[in-house]
């Protein structure tokens, strides 16, 4: 295996205007401009091998899109070095574009009024795909998904799921070395999500394509990524195997119960009875955060049933957001 993406100490700063408040403030903004520097990406380094699927995670505004824009050559890093297949993307945008595919932020890149097959034909010309490669790719697509109904349908008439699927197929069409997928499953139903995950997985396996996936859906990460990178506020917080992360946080589950009476008081009581768990209460539920390495959720539930009359219960797995929050608060390693 060889490194396809090399990022060394990359930082990206933006100058943002400090806007003053009110009409008077706006008038003053017209004449004196007061800029501050915001660091969207702060000293990030990583190396990604050909064929990896990497989950690139972080809360909104963490700097994920900025990093991807730098990797695709749209933005120039303020400092640091990026090499994509040995090419500096910002200096060779068109050369770099030949080797990557992008599905970005729910903006379809297909021709809106055209049937998918015609978009494919234009892409075939733009990327100079040979007839043999093109036919081979279509054949592969046919074996993976049912594309016949999509091919002759104008993109504007497609459902969101069909459109996303089409965009992903279009991104892989020229057999790029890397495909960037930005929240590919957002807003899709469960079966479509599963379909898209299967497709990405299969294309990665067949074509050995490197996939950089940003998502807020832990399901995507579980289904696809062997490795995840987490950033927040522009800083890299975590870069390792997903198993490693689960070792730290996957053991946590939240048991939510509903009981009669004053929830706050009872939550305190439960907290005393279960010293290994963090217990809190909101208006409807008492939440018990259980570390399964120390205590099984079923045992906690059994214990609670002896002391309380539980009217309703829920079990929540820890979400990406919570993992990130925990990493941010507590750190890893």
């Amino acid at each position: 295996m060889s490194a396809i993406i090399e990022i060394k100490n990359v930082t990206k700063e933006f100058k943002v205007l400090n806007r003053r408040e009110g009409l008077k403030g706006s008038l003053r903004d017209l004449f004196s401009r007061d800029y501050k520097t915001v660091r969207a990406v702060d000293n990030i380094s990583m190396t990604i091998e050909q064929g990896e699927i990497v989950g690139y995670l972080g809360p909104n505004g963490a700097g994920k899109s900025t990093t991807i824009k730098m990797m695709t050559g749209v933005l120039e890093p303020t400092s640091g070095e990026i090499l994509i297949g040995g090419v500096v993307p910002y200096q060779n945008r068109t050369k770099n574009a030949q080797e990557i595919g992008v599905v970005f932020g729910q903006r379809s890149q297909l021709w809106w009024a055209l049937p998918l097959i015609e978009s494919f034909r234009i892409l075939k010309d733009i990327y100079q795909i040979t007839d043999a490669d093109y036919e081979g790719m279509l054949k592969l697509y046919r074996s993976l998904v049912d594309i016949e109904p999509l091919l002759h349908k104008p993109v504007r008439q497609m459902s969101l799921g069909q459109r996303t699927l089409s965009d992903i197929l279009a991104a892989f069409l020229h057999n790029p070395k890397i495909v960037f997928l930005d929240e590919p499953t957002i807003g899709l139903d469960v079966s479509m999500k599963a379909k898209i995950r299967t497709l990405i997985h299969a294309l990665n396996r067949e074509k050995h394509t490197t996939v950089i996936l940003t998502t807020h859906d832990m399901g995507d990460v579980d289904a696809l990524c062997q490795r995840i990178v987490i950033i927040d506020k522009g800083k890299m917080l975590y870069d390792n195997d997903i198993e490693h992360l689960k070792g730290f946080f996957g053991a946590y589950r939240t048991l939510k119960i509903r009981v009669d009476g004053d929830l706050k008081a009872q939550a305190e009581e439960i907290g005393k009875a279960l010293p290994d768990c963090a217990v809190s209460a909101d208006e409807d539920w008492i939440s018990v955060l259980v570390n399964e390495e120390k205590q099984k959720v079923m045992d906690v539930l059994a214990q609670l049933q002896k002391t309380h009359r539980i009217r309703d219960m829920q079990l929540e797995e820890i979400s990406t957001e919570e993992v990130i929050k925990k990493i941010y608060e507590e750190g890893v390693q």
């Binding site: 909104n60 574009a97 990557i100 970005f104 009024a113 015609e118 929240e183």
Partner: protein, 267 residues
Amino acid sequence: MKKKNLRFYIRIYFKILAQDLKSKMSYRADFIISTIGMILTNVSGFIGFWILFRNFPSINGWSYHEMLFLYGFSLVALTPVQCFFDNNWNLRGNVYSGDFIKYCFRPINLFFYYQSEVFDIKGLGQLAFGLGTLIYAWIKLGLAVTPLMLLKTLVFLLTASLIMIAMQNAAAAACFWIENSFYVLDLAMRFKEYAKYPVTIFSPVFRFIFTFIFPIAFIAYYPSLVILRPDEVPVLSWLSPVIGIVFFYVSYKIWMRGATRYSGTGS
């Protein structure tokens, strides 16, 4: 990867252009209404012109048919910008919404790719109308039909087009720097209305503005002089092809510079 030469770009251009025509035809009512609109715009423009000349047989030494020549010339010269660079009008919206980023991911020239996406078929009507007017004026003025005259006309029509395209590119590119840049483009395009009049009818201030700041005098006036008044052609007329090419190149550079400055909205 094969080298991307001119042939590659021409091939791609027609592919992408064909998709736009297909798209437009797929909205039939829209297509018909905009065609009717285009015809009405041209007819009403012409009626205004005609009424003016019913009342004043000549303006500042320019006869009706000479003015008609200028009018036709400017219409033809404005056709390429209308047909091939109409996507400039959508640039601000695309940049504002963040959709512009999709153009940055393709391995072809950004300016080319962006402009190739829209072909405004309405421009063809304008071309027909302009050509008709030009030929009519040509005959009425008793101008000779020699290969040299035709070549001159062609060269200066191209020149005028380049200048117009350059102005529009530069004005559209303003959106990369200024958030509410619609007025820049709108202003630049409003000035083109004055392109069909001889610059000598304006006051010296405007004559200066239209020659050196918003060089719309180069769209019809200076080029037409070469054909209409071959005895009193100023140096600026002969220079205009060079000015056109330089202007176009500069505007292309401005546009590309703006585009690389573009950072897209968060998503």
